[in-house]
Amino acid sequence: MQAEQAWIEQALKGDRTAFGQLVRAYERPVYHLTYRMLGVSEEAEDAAQETFLRAYTRLSTYQPGRKFVNWLLSIASHYCIDRLRRNSRAPQLSLEDPMPPQWLSSDSDLPDQILDKKQERDKVRDVLGTLPPDYRAAVVLRYWYDMSYEEIAATTRSTESAVKSRLHRARRMMAAQLQAA
């Protein structure tokens, strides 16, 4: 935590190396969120990069009392929600995602395991894909980041009752999709 605070302070003074340390420390949770939100690895990387660029330019607005990772996730979720809304208005070229490079590089996985992982990944993406962007954000933050309603509300800038309602409706929609499949 002390190192994190020191990196933030140095980055605020314009030290891009210190900001690079923050990127290395939080690239995984940020990328995971953008991947679960967008479902395509290339778009997820672009969104995760954009999240860090925005974080750098808005670093002076970060309040030290708040968890830094949650602040980053807030930027990432808003960016992804906006992007999904924009994409829903624009024609889609392809929803197929090639195998993410981090899996192709794994030496330990057998072909069957790679296939299982791909199937599982497709299933998760299909289930999440049925949800509107703000429902999707609530589900991802609840299931993969184990956030409370209060934390999700703070991250998505909504209320606890809205989060409760979104999670309930999202679960119903996903259950319906699973039963129909």
Binding site: F19, S41, E45, Q102, K117, V127, L178
Partner: protein, 195 residues
Amino acid sequence: MGEWIACEQNERISEWMSLFLDGLLDADRERRMEQHLNACAACRAEWQAMQRIAVLFAESAIMGPPLGFAVRVERRLAERVRERRRLFGGTAVLTGSLSLAGVAVAAVGMVVLSVVAWQWIGSFPAMQQGSSAVSQIASGVGLMGKGASLFLKDLLLRYGVPVLLLAGVGLTVLAGLWAWMFCNRRDRSRHNGYA
């Protein structure tokens, strides 16, 4: 889905299911939910689907970015900082050029106005020769206009075409430079760091 509609309590029970999954359902409602699920096949099917989703998500891996992600972010950040500086420089140049052009236009406008005023006042000699304040101002404006008119006539006859040409070329180059920087910035912002 048709079965769900058949259960009148489904909306309330499914809300309780969601709360239960988040560990927020009290013991009394949990007991009532269990009783209902034992009796209602439609709600039970929905409950099983919700549980399967929870298991599916719990078993799915946490995704990390491809190798070299941080380096690509740093590269893109450096590019964006450079672009901002360039854009700021371009804006400063444009603002300066526009200010200079504004001053020049104002000066030319004043001279033209003086010349017009001198010619107009010249047709009223009584106004130029009177002793009132209006007459004195008119006389002053008339003299300024006369001087400016002679100066402009001389300037345009000697250097008119080169001066106008130089100013036009300068402003065109500045506008082109600024437009190029703006377009270049837009192209780079779409690039996410892959070669």
